[in-house]
């Protein structure tokens, strides 16, 4: 019986029929999605912190409203994704508990510090750019609620990348000092950005199954290559240099070759030893704990009001 169900499930996937929450699905499909979507949601929420750091110090009002709107979008993206994950049978509070205990991961890029205003430019350009590369194919992922959430996210994300690139453009056309700020930000964010696509394909054991289930449509290395290919000319327009001496066009492959990624650094950051891991997690845990009384008061108020409404209907 079980085998039969799995075959039917795979047939649906092969025919591009979306899976919806109450449909039968293999337990491993459910678990894989739950892990991926909740990690994705956590990344959006933790991802608000590095940029939130600069809202009050934005150089002018135009930059400030844009950054504020971007960070608000990220909160929204986190919420779309948490609701998609909840349809797989885990409560919001359980997911948050896993984030706060360190059991659940989030994108390791957010464990790097934002040292200057130029980092707001580099994050929008590179980090959001890499995220878009990952997320566009996810709009066609096989699980309906995840795909629908990603359609919303992608619609909003392109403003994020454009506002970041505009910041980089302004700085790189500015004074020598401003241009140096932009170059410094590119130097620090480049490698972590291309790490965002995850381990190389031969080191990514779960990828094959995810591709078969059409959760993923492209492999980590394919997406990373696409990102490098489009980003090189964007850096040229800015007049900035990508910090990789091995970066060069390969005519035969029709792609850019690039240097070896420092996976030891990646693994260290994933393991919790990046520059800001403790700070980021503490900020989330503090927000949760300090918000406890608000959540409780809202419930108490709602209950009191419901009771009062009931009493008044009875009296009438």
């Amino acid at each position: 019986m079980e085998i039969n169900l799995e075959e039917q499930f795979q047939e649906k996937i092969d025919q591009e029929i979306k899976i919806e929450p109450r449909d039968w699905m293999p337990e491993k499909y459910r678990k894989t999605l739950l892990r991926q979507i909740s990690q994705h949601a956590h990344s959006e929420i933790v991802g608000m912190l590095p940029e939130g750091n600069w809202i009050t110090r934005a150089p002018n009002l135009r930059r400030k409203v844009a950054l504020l709107a971007k960070v608000q979008d990220e909160a929204g993206h986190g919420l779309y994704l948490y609701s998609a994950a909840e349809t797989l049978g885990m409560s919001r509070d359980e997911m948050l508990a896993e984030l706060h205990s360190g059991k659940a991961k989030y994108s390791s890029i957010f464990n790097y510090p934002t040292l200057t205003w130029a980092d707001m430019g580099a994050i929008g350009w590179l980090v959001d750019g890499a995220a878009i590369m990952n997320q566009v194919p996810l709009c066609r992922t096989s699980y309906g609620p995840y795909a629908r959430a990603m359609v919303r996210v992608c619609k909003e994300e392109s403003f994020h990348q454009r506002q970041g690139y505009e910041i980089m453009l302004t700085l790189s056309k500015g004074t020598a000092e401003q241009k140096a700020l932009a170059q410094d930000a590119l130097n620090r964010w480049w490698w972590p950005s291309i790490m965002m696509f995850g381990p190389n394909d031969d080191k990514s054991p779960n990828s094959a199954q995810s591709m078969k289930w059409k959760i993923k449509r492209f492999s980590n290395d394919e997406l990373r290559q696409k990102f490098v290919d489009v980003t090189v000319s964007q850096a040229e327009i800015l007049g900035l240099t990508i910090p990789d001496k091995d970066l060069k066009w390969n005519e035969a492959r029709g792609h850019y070759d690039f240097g070896t990624i420092n996976w030891d650094e990646f693994n260290e950051v994933v393991a919790g030893n990046g520059p800001c891991n403790k700070q980021r997690l503490k900020a989330r845990v503090d927000a949760w704990e300090k918000g406890t009384w608000v959540r409780e008061a809202a419930i108490a108020f709602a209950e009191k009001r419901a009771k009062r409404n009931n009493n008044s209907t009875e009296a009438a």
């Binding site: 109450r22 608000q72 929204g76 609701s83 909840e86 629908r148 406890t292 809202a298 419930i299 108020f301």
Partner: protein, 95 residues
């Protein structure tokens, strides 16, 4: 400390006058008023709506996916419910 989670609400948005409300997603809120306010922030940051409905998720009822065949199949063999089933002369033009 209470461990109670705010209830889940389903959100429906009318994109503009003349269209029906369409399901857009869900969110948590302590009561319906907060659900509408949160829906405004989460789902209509870019003028996506002119009207919001929220329904507490526990009040929604749905058919079992396994009933799909018995519920929806019977319509399949009733082609006579469609206009193209009827063969009429071409000179009739539009009917």
């Amino acid at each position: 400390m209470s461990n109670k989670e705010w209830p889940l609400w389903e959100v429906f948005i009318r994109a503009k006058q003349g269209l029906n409300h369409k399901h857009v997603g869900s969110l948590h809120a302590a009561d319906h008023q907060m659900a509408i306010e949160n829906a405004r922030d989460v789902y209509t940051r870019r003028m996506e709506g002119v009207s919001i409905w929220v329904v507490e998720s526990k009040h929604l009822h749905a058919n079992e996916p396994s009933d799909q065949d018995s519920l929806f199949d019977p319509a399949n063999d009733k082609v006579y419910r469609h206009p193209t089933f009827y063969v009429l002369p071409e000179e009739l033009n539009h009917m």
